[in-house]
């Protein structure tokens, strides 16, 4: 009983940690620019695919990972410069469509640059499972969960302790006021894309040894990450992480205890249920009507 509960929980936390990181990436860009970036999943793909190919080209794994993160950041900045910035002031829906177009383009490029096969990375600490109270867990799961926790911590510290981070927060709170006090909001938005891309790529590197990767893994991750973002309350980093973990756990427990066939549906039903009770998500602030 306990063993399977633990097994399900670890499965849910591992998958959830990735959703959480994708949702965190969403949150950072959303806060800085009100853009829901549906290309966020592509950053995860770039992280995984570039590391795979860099590793195959003979680079050691840490260097390959670094190359992947840098590649994702470059793509992130390019996306911002070439697609988001020129459309500044467009309505949120239009910006979302632009990011969907961006996702298309990135995926299209990846399928030409790399290939259409699935790939894996070796587990950072081998593949031999660890037994905890009857549950078998691959060591990479700890890398994923621990890595996600570290990334969340680093992001929190960045926002709370650095001037740059505070500038991003200020822009998020009030773009106009931030401009007035001399913050270059365009730069801040660019920075948020850079940061989100890096987080996405790191997530991709961490998770590829478990989940495998291919040029088109981004779509589903973006969908799940978006759901987690909204469940968490849209704009709250804590919410994004909580939303991701809850979504992952829901899927794992649904698969384990109810039906594996409809586990995704159950996860979505839980989410819709939560939203009906809390229309602004778990950590969202209610917007009082100002008229």
């Amino acid at each position: 009983m306990l063993a399977s509960f633990l097994q399900f929980s670890m499965s849910g936390l591992t998958v959830g940690a990735i959703y959480a990181l994708v949702a965190l990436g969403f949150t950072i860009i959303y806060n800085a620019s009100d853009v829901v970036n549906f290309a966020q999943g592509e950053f995860v793909m770039i992280g995984g695919m570039v590391s795979v190919f860099a590793l195959a080209a003979g680079l050691p794994l840490p260097v390959a990972g670094l190359v992947a993160v840098i590649a994702a950041m470059l793509v992130g900045v390019a996306l911002h410069r070439l697609a988001i910035e020129p459309a500044r002031g467009a309505s949120p829906v239009v910006l979302i469509i632009i990011t969907i177009g961006g996702a298309f383009a990135i995926r299209g490029l990846a399928q030409v640059l790399f290939d259409k096969q699935f790939h894996k990375l070796p587990g950072f600490s081998g593949e031999a499972p660890v037994n905890i109270l009857g549950a078998s867990i691959v060591p990479q799961a700890f890398w994923v969960i621990g890595g996600a926790a570290l990334i969340v911590l680093a992001v929190t510290l960045f926002f709370e302790r650095t001037l740059l981070g505070k500038a991003v927060l200020a822009t998020a709170a009030n773009r106009f006021a931030a401009k007035l006090v001399g913050i270059n909001t365009g730069f801040v938005t660019g920075l948020s894309f850079l940061l989100s891309a890096a987080i996405g790529a790191l997530a991709g590197i961490l998770v590829t040894p478990i989940t495998l990767t291919s040029y088109d893994v981004g779509t589903l991750l973006a969908l799940k990450g978006f759901a987690a973002l909204v469940l968490g309350g849209l704009g709250s980093a804590t919410g994004a992480v909580a939303g991701g973990l809850i979504l992952g756990l829901c899927e794992a427990f649904a698969a384990g205890y109810l039906t594996s066939t409809y586990k995704d549906a159950i996860a979505f039903l839980v989410m819709i249920g939560v939203l009906l009770v809390m229309p602004n998500g778990l950590f969202g602030r209610a917007q009082a009507e100002r008229v």
């Binding site: 399900f8 096969q117 699935f118 790939h119 894996k120 593949e127 495998l212 589903l220 384990g256």
Partner: protein, 379 residues
């Protein structure tokens, strides 16, 4: 606006057409080169292009060059149907080798049947050719055969109680249904069943439940793509010691790479192509399989898979039929495809007939076991 678009489309089509010699024999291929089945569609596309080039370099078919028109349906049945219409109406192909997935093949089938253009599908499910449609053929072994081959092997090893975990994609779902139809025939009881989505990344919850079923002797995993690789890894992770059977849907070296260590000991039914190297020299299939393997691996730098092999078989059956038909008449070609006898392909010996539009016997399947990260014959 609309007119401009059609105008553009029309001129583009003309452009494509004018580049080719009117004397050429046009054959079409609608493949899932992108999308969830791209790992099937990509080697299929490469194989077709490779061999069409080779045939043309050697002087073509009956002195005429082959011209291959490929469209990518992205795995979407509706798109596939549009491209099928385009091949028939615009490109006026004499036949088509393609249809990567069962879904796309089923969507395209009626279009070719209506237009009386032969269509050789590369997808697995038995429903494509059963009931027989006059103009629709296929080259891969059916999923029912895969089930039978696996159950035969289980029976031989004395397993009667098994568990099943299948993908909810078309391939997994279809094969699962076939397995559930034929298991009783082999005296095999399915004790527990689980499923996973096409893009799932962790199947430990399902396998944990499956593991808990008492008395199970083996597990079968109908599915294709990366799912089975993850199942295999999770299987090992959870320390399940029962024999694991995969399907012909993972018959590529990539599966072994992805599953790693965990792949060792896994059995699956597949074409002899994968074990071409270790076939006895007396095996009549050996030269064909070896030649294809060598050519594919040299040209693409990727390990050979049976998927590309099915495209090879389809193309060669078609070329043979065109030669026998003595020209580019679709109806005659169809009749000749149906008359294919004793054709040695990568999947086995094809003997088509009016009632069998696939033409492979169960014996064409080999039961393989993965040993030390490589294919080996199980018996």
């Amino acid at each position: 606006m609309m007119k401009t678009f059609t105008g553009i489309a029309a001129s583009l089509a003309l452009l494509g057409a004018s580049a080719a010699n009117a004397q050429d024999i046009k054959i079409g291929a609608v493949l899932s080169v992108t999308g969830p089945a791209s790992f099937l569609g990509e080697p299929e596309e490469k194989t077709l292009k490779m061999y069409v080039d080779e045939i043309n370099a050697k002087g073509g078919v009956k002195g005429k060059k082959l011209q291959l028109v490929v469209y990518d349906d992205g795995g979407d049945a509706n798109k596939a149907r549009t491209f099928a219409t385009r091949l028939i109406e615009e490109d006026k192909v004499v036949a088509m080798v393609g249809g990567t997935t069962t879904g796309t093949s089923m969507a395209m089938g009626p279009a070719f049947d209506d237009a009386q253009v032969p269509f050789i599908s590369l997808a697995g499910a038995v429903v494509i050719v059963e009931p027989v449609k006059k103009y629709v053929f296929k080259t891969p072994h059916t999923d029912r055969m895969a089930c039978e081959k696996i159950f035969e092997d289980m029976k031989k090893r004395g397993f009667t109680k098994i568990g099943m975990i299948s993908g909810t994609d078309g391939f997994g779902k279809s094969m699962r249904d076939e397995c559930v139809k034929v298991n009783a025939k082999f005296g095999i009881e399915i004790l527990g069943e689980e499923t996973y989505g096409p893009r799932d990344t962790d199947m430990t919850p399902q396998l944990t439940n499956l593991r808990a079923k008492a008395g199970m002797q083996a597990v079968i995993n109908p599915g294709f793509g990366q799912g089975p690789a993850i199942v295999t890894r999770n299987y090992k992770q959870l320390g399940i010691n029962l024999p694991l059977y995969q399907s012909h849907g993972v018959a590529s070296k990539q599966f072994i790479e992805l599953a790693g260590e965990a792949a060792n000991g896994v059995r699956l039914p597949a074409a002899a192509l994968l074990v071409a190297d270790i076939l006895p020299d007396s095996d009549p299939q050996k030269p064909v399989a070896l030649a294809y393997k060598k050519k594919f691996e040299e040209a693409t730098k990727q390990p050979v898979s049976t998927f590309g092999g099915h495209a090879y078989d389809g193309l060669m059956i078609l070329v043979g039929a065109i030669e026998r038909a003595g020209g580019a008449d679709s109806k005659k070609i169809r009749d000749e495809i149906e008359k294919t006898k004793g054709f040695m392909g990568t999947a086995g010996i094809f003997n088509m007939s009016a009632t069998d539009h696939m033409g492979l016997e169960l014996s064409a399947f080999k039961m393989l076991e993965i040993k030390n990260g490589n294919w080996a014959l199980a018996d």
